[in-house]
C-alpha cells in the first residue's frame, strides 16, 4: 500500500484540479489528496513492482515448501522403521540395524556426541571469532584489515575432507600429549575423564571439537565483522568525546550494538557444526562403549553415522532407521535456530 501511495501521488495531485474542473472548490491547497484519486489508480501498479513482488513472494514460498517437503520426506521414510524398532528410539544407546527382523536403534549417544562436540567447538570459536572481528574493525589499520579479512574468509572455502585429514593426521598427534596431560591432571572433572577411545589415536571429541572450531571460525568472524563495522559513527564519536578509551568505546558502543548479530553469527556456526559430516567421519573413532560425558570419548554424530552407513544401504527399512536419526538432527537444528532467534529478538537494543 505504502509504495503505491508514494508512486501515485504526483499523478494524483496533477490531475485532481483538471479533472475536478473546480479549482475554487479547493480553498486550502494544503488539504490532503482525496482518497478517491487513490481508488481510481488502483489498477495502475507498475509491472516492475508486480514482477519483483512475485519473485520475492515466490522465493519465500519456495523455501518454506522445500523445508516442509524435507521434513515430510524424512518423516514418511522414518515411520515404518520406527515401527520395527525393538528399543526406545530416544533413550537407547544401541545401534544395530543389520538384521531387519531385529532392529534395535536409539539415538541417545548420537545426540549427546553431536551436541557436546558442537558446543565444545562453539566455546572455542566464539571468543576467538569475537577477538578477530573486533581487531579487524576497531584495531587493525585499514590497509591491513581488508587482506586479513580475505584470508579468514578463505578458511571457509577449505573442503571439509581436508579439515578431516588434517585433524586426523596432523592435529591428532599434536594433541596427544595435551590430552594425556588433561586426563591425568584434570581427570576428576567429568569432561576430562579418560575416555572410551585411545588418546594416542586422536579420534576423540576433543580433536573433533577443535577442528570444528576452526571450521566455523570464518562464518562467525565474517558476520560479526560486518555487524561491528556498522556501529553508528556518531555513537563511537560520542563515546570518544566523553573521554572513553578504545576498550571503553568497544564495550559501550560496538558490543551492545553488535550483540544480536554476534549471537546469530554464532548460531549460524553452530548449525554448521551440528551438520558437519565428512570431517567428523574421518576424525571420530567409533566405539562400542556408551558416551560418558568426557571430551576424550569417541562415538559418532548424527551426520557422520549416516555417512558411514550410506554406501551400504540396500534395504529401505535399514535406511529408514538412519533417516529417523536424520530427522532428529533436523529437529535439533530447528530448535537451535529457534532459540537463537529468540535470543536475538530479546537483544535488539539498537534497532
Amino acid at each position: 500500500m505504502n509504495e503505491r501511495t508514494v508512486a501515485k501521488r504526483p499523478a494524483g495531485t496533477g490531475t485532481t484540479g483538471a479533472r475536478g474542473g473546480v479549482p475554487a472548490a479547493r480553498p486550502d491547497s494544503e488539504a490532503p489528496i482525496p482518497p478517491t484519486a487513490e481508488a481510481d489508480n488502483r489498477s495502475h501498479v507498475r509491472p516492475g513492482d508486480r514482477i519483483f513482488k512475485g519473485l520475492a513472494t515466490g522465493s519465500g514460498i519456495f523455501i518454506v515448501v522445500l523445508i516442509a517437503a524435507i521434513g515430510i520426506f524424512l518423516l514418511l521414510q522414518a515411520i515404518p522403521s520406527l515401527g520395527l524398532n525393538h528399543v526406545n528410539f530416544l533413550t537407547s544407546r544401541e545401534w544395530s540395524t543389520g538384521d531387519v527382523g531385529d532392529m534395535r536403534f536409539g539415538i541417545l549417544d548420537l545426540f549427546l556426541v553431536t551436541v557436546v562436540s558442537s558446543a565444545f567447538a562453539l566455546v572455542i570459536a566464539m571468543p576467538i571469532a569475537l577477538g578477530i572481528a573486533l581487531f579487524l574493525t576497531q584495531y587493525a589499520p585499514r590497509r591491513l584489515a581488508r587482506p586479513f579479512a580475505y584470508v579468514i574468509d578463505l578458511l571457509a572455502a577449505v573442503p571439509s575432507i581436508i579439515f578431516g585429514l588434517w585433524g586426523l593426521l596432523v592435529l591428532g598427534p599434536v594433541l596427544t600429549p595435551i590430552g594425556e596431560w588433561l586426563t591425568s591432571t584434570l581427570g576428576w572433572f567429568f569432561l576430562f575423564d579418560e575416555g572410551n577411545v585411545s588418546i594416542e589415536l586422536g579420534g576423540t571429541i576433543f580433536t573433533a571439537g577443535i577442528v570444528l572450531a576452526v571450521m566455523i571460525l570464518p562464518i562467525i568472524t565474517a558476520v560479526s565483522r560486518e555487524v561491528f563495522d556498522r556501529t553508528p559513527v556518531t555513537h563511537v564519536e560520542g563515546a570518544i568525546a566523553l573521554g572513553a578509551t578504545k576498550w571503553e568505546v568497544v564495550r559501550t558502543t560496538v558490543l551492545p550494538f553488535g550483540k544480536a548479530g554476534y549471537v546469530s553469527a554464532s548460531m549460524l556456526g553452530l548449525g554448521r557444526a551440528l551438520g558437519e559430516t565428512i570431517a567428523l567421519m574421518i576424525i571420530l573413532s567409533g566405539t562400542g562403549a556408551a558416551f560418558a560425558w568426557s571430551l576424550f570419548d569417541g562415538g559418532a554424530t548424527f551426520a557422520s553415522k549416516i555417512a558411514l552407513a550410506a554406501p551400504e544401504f540396500n534395504d529401505p527399512r535399514t535406511a529408514g532407521a538412519y533417516i529417523a536419526a536424520g530427522l532428529v538432527l533436523f529437529v535439533l537444528t530447528f530448535g537451535v535456530n529457534a532459540v537463537a532467534r529468540s535470543i536475538v529478538a530479546g537483544h535488539k537494543e539498537y534497532e
Binding site: G98, L201, G286, A289, L308, A309, P311, F313
Partner: protein, 373 residues
Amino acid sequence: MKTKRHGAVIGLIAAGALLLTACGSDNNAGNTGAAQTTGESSSPVECGGKSKLSAEGSSAQKNAIDTFVQAYQQRCSGSDLAYNASGSGAGVKQFIAGQVDFGGSDSPLSESKGEVASAAERCEGNPAWNLPMVFGPVALGYKLEGVADLTLNGEVAAKIFNGTVKKWNDPAISALNSGASLPDKNITVIYRSDESGTTDNFQQYLEAASGGAWTQGAGKQFKGGVGEGKEKSAGVAQAAGAVDGAITYVELSFAQDNKLSIAKIDNGSGAVELNEQSVGKAIDGATIKGTGNDLVLDLGSIYGASTEGAYPLLLATYEIVCSKGYDADTAKAVKAFLTVAATDGQAGLADAGYAPLPKAFQEKLLTAIEAIA
C-alpha cells in the same frame, strides 16, 4: 605420509606396468601358439558388442576390476568398462533397476530380501547368477614391538575381537606362540566404523571358526563391542600402524602399505602364512552352494576348513550377472569382459592385493561365463 603416498602411486604405476607387460607376453604367446605355462591366453575371447559396459557395486573389488579393465582394453581394443565403487548395496540396487550391466557385491543376492526375484525380473524372467570372481585375503594385521611372528586361530581371534582376551601376554595367545616373548601390553582392537563387506566376512569367519567363542553374530557392522572404529580400510590400517599393541582385520594390500605385521592363522592343522598358495588352496576347497552355474559359495567351507596349508580368512566378492535376458550386444561384451577377467586379468591381481583364481575354480567360472546368453 607424503612419502608413503608417493610410494603408493609409484607402486600403482609399477603394478600397472607389470600388468601391461604380462598382457603383452600373453598376446605374443597366443600368436605363436606356444604353450604358455598358465594356459590363460589359450582361452579364446570373443571381443565386440557394446563398447562401453557399466558396472557398479562393492568397493572391495574396485582395484581388481581396475586391473581387469586394463586387461580388457588390451585384449579387446576399443572396449571399456566403467565401474562405480559405490558399495555392494548400491551395486545390487542399480543392477536390479537395470541401470548397470552387472553388479558387484560382497554377498550373493538375498532370497529373503526379495533380491533374487527382482533380479530375475530385471533379466526378463531368467535367473541372475552370482559369480565369485574376486577373492581378497583379509589380513589380521597388528603392530607390536618386538613381535614379528605371531600365530592366532579362530578362537583366539574371536576372543581378542570381543574383548575376552585383553592383553598380548594372555595365556591363550602364548599357548599358540610358544617361545615368543609377548609383552604385557593392552590389545587395542581397531575395527571398521563404516558398514562393510569386510567386517561381514570377518565376523562370519569368526562365527564359523571360533568354536563358539564368537557369539555376537555377523553383519556389516562390527559387533565385538570393544576397541575403536575407524573409517574405511585406509583408516583402520593407518590407525593400527600408529599404535603399538593394535590389531585389526584389513585387506592385505592395506596391511602391507602401512607396514603392519601379519598374523599367521592356525586352522587346526598348523600355522598358515598368508600367501598366494595358501589362499589358492582355500579357494580350491570351497564348496558351491548355488545350483548349476549360479556359483554361490558356501563360505563355511572356506572358513571352517582345516585343510593343511589353507588360509581361511578371505573376502569373496561376486559379479552379479543375468544368465539370459541381455540384448545381444551387451551379452557379448559382458561375456568378453568376464572371460578376460577370469583369464588374462588374473596376472595383475596379486600386485593389487588379491588372490588369483586357482585353476580348477577358474574352469568353473569360465563354464558359467560361456553359458551367459
